[in-house]
């Protein structure tokens, strides 16, 4: 019996309970940190909105990655490339037409936002198809190299001056090159509520918020509502992937993950299944990228560095590959602890000790430590460059996880292929006392444990 089963066993409500518990403690922690930082209500609400935003995007991305790696065993480390293509194609389609003398250097096709989002997802899926075609038939690590190479090619292409501005269907469009692209379409929330004729209602809500936040409540409400919207998308992703995983299609994917030759021998066209699953995951990654960058107002190619891919992988590995619940949990833990946590710590320190001027370089930081054993400048420099050290910490966390807990918090759990539950009825378990341990290791499913992943012989892929 390992720790992971203890965790879920101890939390009431199983996996869902665990997620709720983790989310609640993350929010509590942030509220406490906000009190420590002396935030007013507005600051607290903003910090909650930011946290929700990052939990949402990382949960979505790790769910999409879970379809690739956890379900199908496709080692995709080019996530950020699919996000970039999604966002840029969406911008190309949805930005308003070019007007000479406007703030934007280039225009778009001026189509509605939802058309742009669909086009972005489609483009990401097509890119996935192109990437998967040569690499899928080969070893897993070849796919890794091809995907990460693709993501860097995408970034360099958007950086290049050749795609900065060009003409498409008679209008001036483009990707803006290194200086970035202004996303000057209708703000997504406005577009969404107008589409349902609820824009007036929303404005009423904003006005009502004046009771809590007297001055300029709109950005606060926008942030909160967008965060909720993202959580809604997380639920939708979760539902979609759960349905996919439990469908006949999903069962073939899991068979491919466990042993592709066997799946092939059973008459399944494994290449076709892999390509479809890869394209679906890529489209979802494109959507997650769009949702991440849509409200930001502008996008630059250098946002799409491989480190974002690395973030998503850590989130998935924390949660446990193969488990949708684990993916959400991993996204939340990653966003709250590893991604936003150090930045909050930095803020906290600079609030507690204002007027600190940290040294500008490592040299000025380390020399007092060597010459006069004065560690203060070094500590200040450490806190000042916490955004780099954060990545060092993430790297070490990843190494630690691979050494000690490669299955993550919720990964590698037993899963029955059978439609009816194979666990003994409760009365029987109660009748013969301690036998429930062995039943569970044989592939039994906990009551209320709706997301069970991995085949009943889930140990196979450990080797």
């Amino acid at each position: 019996m390992s720790v992971k089963e203890d965790i879920t066993a101890r939390v009431p409500g199983g996996d869902t309970g665990l997620i709720v518990l983790v989310l609640a403690s993350a929010y509590l922690l942030y509220l406490l940190a906000g009190i420590g930082l002396g935030y007013d209500l507005r600051g607290q609400l903003n910090s909650i909105a930011t946290l929700t935003f990052y939990i949402g995007v990382f949960a979505m991305l790790s769910l999409a990655l879970n379809l690739h790696w956890g379900y199908t065993g496709l080692f995709n480390i080019g996530i950020v490339g699919f996000m970039a293509v999604g966002v840029y194609v969406m911008a190309l389609v949805s930005k308003p037409l070019y007007v000479a003398g406007g703030a934007a250097q280039v225009g778009g096709l001026g189509l509605p936002l939802w058309v742009g989002i669909l086009a972005g997802m489609l483009a990401a899926a097509i890119l996935g198809f192109v990437v998967a075609l040569p690499a899928l038939r080969l070893r897993a690590d070849y796919l890794a190299i091809v995907t990460i190479a693709m993501s860097e090619i995408v970034r360099f292409s958007f950086l290049s001056g050749d795609l900065q501005a060009f003409s498409l269907m008679g209008t001036r469009v483009g990707f803006g090159g290194g200086s970035g692209l202004i996303l000057d379409f209708t703000p997504p929330l406005e577009a969404l509520f107008q589409a349902f004729g609820l824009w007036g209602v929303y404005n009423g809500l904003v006005d009502a918020f004046r009771a809590i936040v007297p001055t300029n409540p709109k950005p606060v409400v926008d942030g909160l509502i967008y965060g909720l919207l993202l959580l809604g998308f997380v639920v939708a992703f979760y539902w979609l992937l759960k349905r996919t995983g439990e469908s006949p299609f999903g069962r073939v994917l899991k068979a491919i993950r466990e042993d592709e030759d066997v799946a092939n021998a059973l008459g399944k066209n494994t290449d076709g299944f892999k390509i479809k699953s890869f394209m679906l995951g890529c489209a979802l990654m494109g959507l997650a990228g769009i949702l991440w960058l849509m409200p930001q107002g502008a996008v630059t190619p250098n946002f799409f560095r491989p480190r974002v891919t690395f973030f998503v992988w850590i989130a998935l590995i924390i949660g446990g590959a193969g488990s949708n619940t684990g993916s959400v949990l991993g996204g939340a833990v990653f966003a709250a602890v590893l991604y936003q946590g150090p930045r909050y710590f930095q803020n906290l320190v600079s609030t507690v000790f204002p007027n600190l001027d940290s040294p500008s370089g490592f040299g000025q930081a380390i020399s007092p430590l060597i010459s006069s054993f004065d560690p203060v400048p070094f500590l200040l420099y450490t806190i000042d460059s916490i955004r780099q050290l954060q990545l060092v910490v993430m790297g070490l966390v990843l190494i630690w996880l691979m050494h000690n807990r490669p299955e993550g918090l919720l990964g590698h759990r037993k899963e029955t292929a059978s439609v009816i539950p194979l666990s003994r009825p409760k009365s029987m378990v109660a009748a013969d006392g301690g036998a429930d341990e062995s039943v569970r290791t044989d592939g039994g499913v906990d009551e209320g444990d709706s997301t069970v992943d991995r085949e009943s012989n889930g140990g196979v892929d450990d080797e």
């Binding site: 190479a149 360099f156 290049s160 780099q388 990545l391 790297g395």
Partner: protein
């Protein structure tokens, strides 16, 4: 051989390997375009000469760094994504030494050791170069190799060894963790600015058909050191028992172990050879291009992977050949496409090889 036979062979080729045929057509079109450019005077022979020379130099760096990657790939059976950051680490350690020796008594020691972080010291103003400060450069090369060896042995001992018996993907993910930790640690210490490291080296212009191709002292240094090391590794692996033991291990680790091959010692030797070459490659890369930034190794790594896969994993000749092909592709592609896509062209070559010959050019050979 009759015409009919040639025709039927051609038809069989077209049916069996349509990809190869399409590639042949594309290659012919590109060549035709180039010849047309030369004939009409749009492209000059000297330009091509310069690009070839540039690609050759780049290819030597990629090949040199690729040997280590190829060896660990075949013997330890995983793609080491930290390899690029070994390159950067070797470069930084070597250049700190070079700065220290070249600039001692002329600048602050701390600034020299940090390779002029934040613009405190400039390599150009120290006059660093192979001919102007040979001692500093040679010491830098030695330190770069030594530091990369120490780093790769340390990382192997504490990070890779505990998970050595896991599958390749576990090791691969671990190596990504190592890569990020190393890279951003280097950014923490050395800063994120890209610094110029060398003074303009003296160069000679060689007359070539219709213009001049310039070759400078650092090109020659790179050529001599890289080919010297490549020949050295070739002899080491061909003439000693170590090479045989490595081939045996790459083939079947368990079998090698029961035959009495000290596998851990072979693994250590692999890291020593690979790490040393990698560190020196990093140093030479910086000497050749004259700038140093904390992202250099990572960006080079993708090309190195392309080279190693192109040549066939496990073959050091494959790594060298692949490196030259990738280097030449990256440099010469600007004849046909915008320079921003040069890197992309190198990957396209890799993907094409994956399609046509997945096991690489030197397939079936493991380490030498």
């Amino acid at each position: 051989m009759g015409i009919a036979e040639t025709y039927s062979r051609g038809r069989a080729l077209a049916i069996e390997r349509p990809f190869a045929l399409v590639l042949g057509v594309i290659a012919a079109v590109l060549l035709g375009d180039l010849l047309l450019g030369l004939a009409t005077g749009q492209t000059q022979f000297a330009d091509i000469g310069t690009l070839v020379w540039d690609g050759l130099m780049r290819g030597l760096v990629i090949g040199l760094a690729g040997i280590g990657l190829s060896m660990t790939y075949s013997i330890l059976n995983f793609a080491n994504f930290a390899h690029g950051d070994y390159i950067t680490a070797g470069a930084f350690s070597g250049w700190a030494t070079t700065y220290l020796i070249a600039g001692l008594s002329r600048a602050d020691i701390g600034a020299l050791l940090l390779v002029g972080a934040g613009g405190s010291v400039y390599g150009g103003s120290l006059g660093i170069g192979m001919l102007s400060t040979p001692l500093a450069v040679v010491a830098g090369i030695v330190v770069a190799g030594g530091f990369a060896i120490a780093l790769s042995l340390g990382v192997d001992r504490f990070i890779f060894r505990p998970v050595r018996n896991e599958d390749g993907i576990t090791l691969l993910i671990t190596s990504i963790g190592v890569a990020f930790a190393l890279r951003y640690m280097m950014q923490f210490v050395f800063g994120s600015d890209v610094r110029g490291t060398t003074a303009q080296p003296p160069s000679v212009g060689l007359y070539f058909v219709d213009g001049t191709v310039f070759i400078d002292a650092h090109d020659i240094t790179l050529l001599v050191i890289a080919s010297g090391l490549m020949i050295g590794v070739h002899l080491l692996l061909q003439r000693t028992k170590l090479g045989k033991a490595m081939r045996a291990m790459a083939d079947n680790k368990d079998l090698a172990l029961i035959t009495g091959i000290p596998t851990e010692r072979v693994v250590r030797s692999t890291w020593i050879i690979g790490g040393g070459l990698t560190g020196i490659a990093g140093y030479m890369f910086v000497l050749w291009k004259g700038t140093l930034g904390f992202n250099d190794g990572w960006l080079l790594l993708l090309l190195i992977f392309a080279a190693v896969i192109l040549g066939g994993i496990g073959s050091i000749y494959g790594a060298i050949t692949g490196g030259l092909v990738i280097g030449l592709t990256a440099s010469m592609s600007v004849l046909w496409i915008p320079s921003a896509f040069a890197r992309a062209a190198a990957f396209v070559v890799m993907i094409v090889i994956l399609l046509v010959k997945p096991s690489g050019l030197f397939s079936g050979r493991s380490t030498a």
